[in-house]
């Protein structure tokens, strides 16, 4: 008789894939991953709003929740257990340096270094910037329409930041990802474009505007948005702002099974740090790869199913035909 099932050994996987999505800080709403509806998604095309951060390494989960026995009787012996604290940490190494991985691996605001105006006073975050230009109607996530004179200010290969002016507002700023929390009004009109995650690489420039190599994370420029050239990125050790992300780590087994680790709320637990790894184990002083370290603390959510407070969901989708 032909077997129609098998006893699956423990999952065998080569690596772990990471996906992140911004928590809506104003509404305090994390992004939830639904393994029933989304469990079989293509790892190369995650469901919105999840953003793939590619493969990661040295992924380590540490449950730090503490339980304690309730003692009763003489001599005292455990009667029940209670959970005293609820805590978990996650650490990993990103295999690339991008706006998003840098931001995740730092404990405070992550800023864009805006192209400096000629003669501007030096600043550690980048000097006063070249004035922003205004997108024209007809712009979308991959095409920014500009006046011909404005378009000439950009080159193929440059990076652009697209967001609104800072007009003295306070609270969470930046779209679609909150980039900072302004406690007191800041004078810099470009501040929101300094902290925005709405950045992309320019692949073509014409008299009518810019074509982007990748869609802007925030989609078409919103009303009032302006465009500025970005030279690079900067973050700082210190500060009081913590980014918050929903995270999904996927481990795909050799038999097609999947293990998901879903953290609805993660905040960086340490400041920016890097790991330096020699490319050749035989030549420790030779070329070395510099990896961004991410270490996060998981914050709790209340599961509406039963009102339990939890910090992580671990889901397992077995391989086809595997006994459970």
């Amino acid at each position: 008789m032909t077997a129609t099932w098998f006893q699956a050994p423990a999952p065998v996987a080569r690596r772990v894939r990471a996906f992140f999505a911004p928590v809506n800080r104003s509404a305090q709403t994390p992004v939830l991953f639904d393994p029933a509806q989304q469990g079989r998604f293509s790892l190369d095309a995650p469901p919105a709003p999840w953003i793939s951060l590619g493969w990661i390494q040295n992924f380590v989960r540490k449950p730090l929740s503490k339980s304690a026995p309730m003692l009763a009787g003489i001599p005292a012996s455990p009667l029940e257990q209670v959970r005293e604290t609820l805590e978990a940490q996650v650490s990993l190494e990103f295999l690339s340096w991008t706006k998003l991985t840098m931001a995740l691996a730092t404990g405070s605001q992550h800023m864009n270094i805006l192209a400096a105006a000629i003669g501007a006073t030096a600043s550690a975050n980048g000097a006063q910037a070249v004035p922003a230009v205004t997108p024209q109607s007809g712009s979308n996530a991959t095409q920014i329409m500009l006046a011909a004179t404005d378009a000439q200010e950009f080159q193929v290969g440059s990076i652009v930041a697209v967001d609104v002016d800072n007009t003295g507002q306070t609270g969470y700023v930046g779209s679609p990802v909150v980039g900072a929390y302004i406690r007191q009004a800041i004078a810099d009109v470009d501040y929101i474009r300094r902290v925005t995650f709405n950045v992309a690489l320019v692949s073509a420039v014409s008299n009518s505007g810019l074509t982007l190599a990748e869609p802007l994370p925030g989609g078409a420029p919103v009303a009032g948005a302006k465009v500025q050239a970005v030279e690079g990125f900067v973050d700082r050790e210190g500060g009081s702002f913590y980014h918050e992300w929903s995270a999904l780590f996927v481990l795909e087994g050799s038999q097609g099974e999947r293990v998901f680790f879903h953290y609805p709320r993660l905040q960086a637990a340490v400041g920016a740090e890097e790991t330096v790894t020699p490319l050749s184990s035989k030549q420790q002083s030779g070329q070395s790869r510099v990896l961004l370290n991410g270490r996060f603390i998981a914050l709790p959510v209340t599961d509406p199913l039963d009102n339990e407070r939890v910090v992580c969901y671990r889901s397992f989708l077995p391989a086809a035909n595997a006994l459970v």
Partner: protein, 161 residues
């Protein structure tokens, strides 16, 4: 374990036909993708050039698992003298091309295990999977460059195997 070996070979052969349809070999009167299993062909004094030859070597098992896992070592041997039109001066490029084809053929690192004793081949329950190829140094013999890439191929034994 034979099903895993057959499935691995057929996966690579199918992928090669897509990656480089021009890499072919005339074997026993038939033109086939340029990849063969040494142990399923007549003994050869010299391996053919510009094709991939799979040679099965080591075998290890782990029987402590719910299903016994087999680990089989596969050497992929390939060699080239370059092309006549360039007088063999392109032999380095030709070998690099074959290196890249091995990398492409081995991705994704798994394939469905098939039973080729049935016609058409019957899908089994598990997947065959493998590590990234480990490339050895180039061996130079006069105008011929050759290289070996080693792949560890894993599979689970199913009922009836």
């Amino acid at each position: 374990m034979q099903n895993a070996k057959d499935s691995f070979y057929m996966a690579l052969r199918t992928r090669l036909a897509t990656i480089n349809p021009e890499r072919t070999i005339l074997l026993r009167g038939a033109v086939r993708p340029g990849i063969l299993v040494e142990e399923t062909e007549a003994p050869m004094n010299q391996l053919p050039s510009d094709v991939f030859v799979l040679r099965w070597l080591g075998l290890g098992t782990d029987s402590d698992l719910p299903a016994t896992m087999a680990r089989e070592q596969c050497e992929i041997i390939y060699q080239t003298c370059g092309t006549q039109s360039f007088g063999g001066l392109d032999r380095g490029r030709s070998l690099s091309e074959m290196d890249e084809e091995i990398l492409a053929m081995t991705v994704p690192h798994h394939t469905q295990k098939l039973d080729f004793t049935a016609t058409p081949p019957a899908a089994m329950l598990t997947q065959v999977f493998w590590d990234e190829p480990a490339f050895a140094s180039i061996v130079i013999q006069r105008d011929q460059l050759s290289r070996t890439a080693t792949v560890l191929v894993y599979s689970y034994q199913e009922q009836g195997e």
